[in-house]
């Protein structure tokens, strides 16, 4: 994900222009189209949890992080467990720190405002696109902002469709939407598999999480499992 070495030695200077923003908007479009079903799935999954369309739209608009938003649904019940929610979202989104770190040699050379604009809409997909563009010699960090905006708008649109469909159609388990979240997460987990060295950390996370559901307050098994997997993975391979 972040095997980025030095890309600083290029001619020209990193910049942030309106032209770049537009180019980013357009170039990401084919990839962004692929997140429409995920946005719909989130809207529907949120409505099966009794979340109103307004709130699920607000989540997509403000948080704008698919995996974290799905994870939040699991913990969304009154009274809201704020500490657990915040820690879970942090853990799911901690990978952003790595993406940002990989972009740092580029973004630290542009003015603060452009740097913030590029980072606040950062996602896995526009990061991947920006990194390959950077290696082809792209200097304009506006492209990162533009691609982020396109992804964001499409994510919000998908959520709106899903949330409205969910509130109109009622029980969606007959369409399999109650399985969407776990199916999606299972797929993402499998995509992260890098070989047998992952086995022990992963099994540790699973075991700690399962035991945690019996002995910890609701939701904390996720934090315990995440830390256990992180520690074992670092200890064995760090």
């Amino acid at each position: 994900m972040v095997e980025q070495t030095s890309v600083a030695d290029r001619t020209g200077r990193p910049c942030f222009t309106a032209k770049g923003v537009w180019r980013g908007c357009v170039e990401i479009a084919p990839i962004a189209a692929l997140i429409v079903p995920f946005g719909i799935a989130f809207g529907v999954a949120a409505s099966t949890k009794g979340i109103t369309p307004e709130i699920s739209l607000f989540m997509s608009l403000a948080i704008y992080a698919g995996a974290a938003q799905f994870a939040v649904l699991d913990l969304w019940h009154a009274p809201l467990p704020l500490a657990t929610l915040a820690l879970t979202v942090f853990a799911v989104n901690a990978r952003h720190i790595l993406l940002g770190a990989a972009l740092a040699p580029w973004l630290l050379q542009i003015p603060l405002l452009g740097r913030l604009a590029a980072l606040l809409w950062l996602s896995d997909a526009n990061f991947a696109q920006a990194m390959s563009a950077r290696q082809r010699g792209e200097l304009d960090a506006g492209t990162l902002f533009g691609s982020g905006i396109t992804m964001w708008v499409i994510w919000i649109g998908g959520t709106a469709v899903g949330a409205l469909a969910g509130s109109l159609l009622g029980d969606l388990s007959r369409f399999g939407f109650d399985a969407v979240m776990v199916a999606y997460f299972a797929a993402v987990i499998i995509g992260q598999w890098k070989g047998t060295k992952d086995l022990f950390p992963w099994l540790t996370a699973a075991a700690v999480a399962v035991i945690g559901t019996h002995i910890l307050p609701p939701g904390w098994h996720i934090i315990a499992g995440a830390l256990a997997g992180g520690i074992v993975g670092t200890w064995r391979h760090g």
């Binding site: 009154a78 940002g100 999606y184």
Partner: protein
């Protein structure tokens, strides 16, 4: 039911946490270097969160959800596409439910 004010406040909190992770990498890099140890920890932690959600949820759920997870995992391993995996993972349990298999 979660009331609206609490929901909005929670979303704002989670937005702040998420934005901190988006800005955090560049901010940290302007002070320190992310060592391979820290990188390994963040990577394993991120995937472990998902494992910690999926495994207990699946174990506690109905057999048709077990089928969904297994199918999604197989499709993801074969096609490397999270989207196809998600679609198959939703379609199979729907078929099970509607056909009463």
């Amino acid at each position: 039911m979660v009331d609206t004010v609490a929901a909005v406040a929670a979303v704002l909190l989670l937005t702040a946490v998420t934005m901190a992770t988006r800005i955090g990498g560049v901010w940290i890099m302007s002070y320190v270097e992310i060592t391979p140890r820290i990188e390994a920890f963040l990577k394993y932690m991120a995937v472990s969160v998902l494992i910690s959600i999926v495994v207990p949820t699946t174990i506690a759920a109905a057999p048709r959800i077990w089928i969904a997870v297994a199918a999604a995992a197989v499709v993801a391993a074969v096609t490397r596409s999270a989207l196809s995996a998600m679609l198959v993972g939703a379609a199979l349990p729907a078929a099970v439910k509607n056909l009463g298999i």
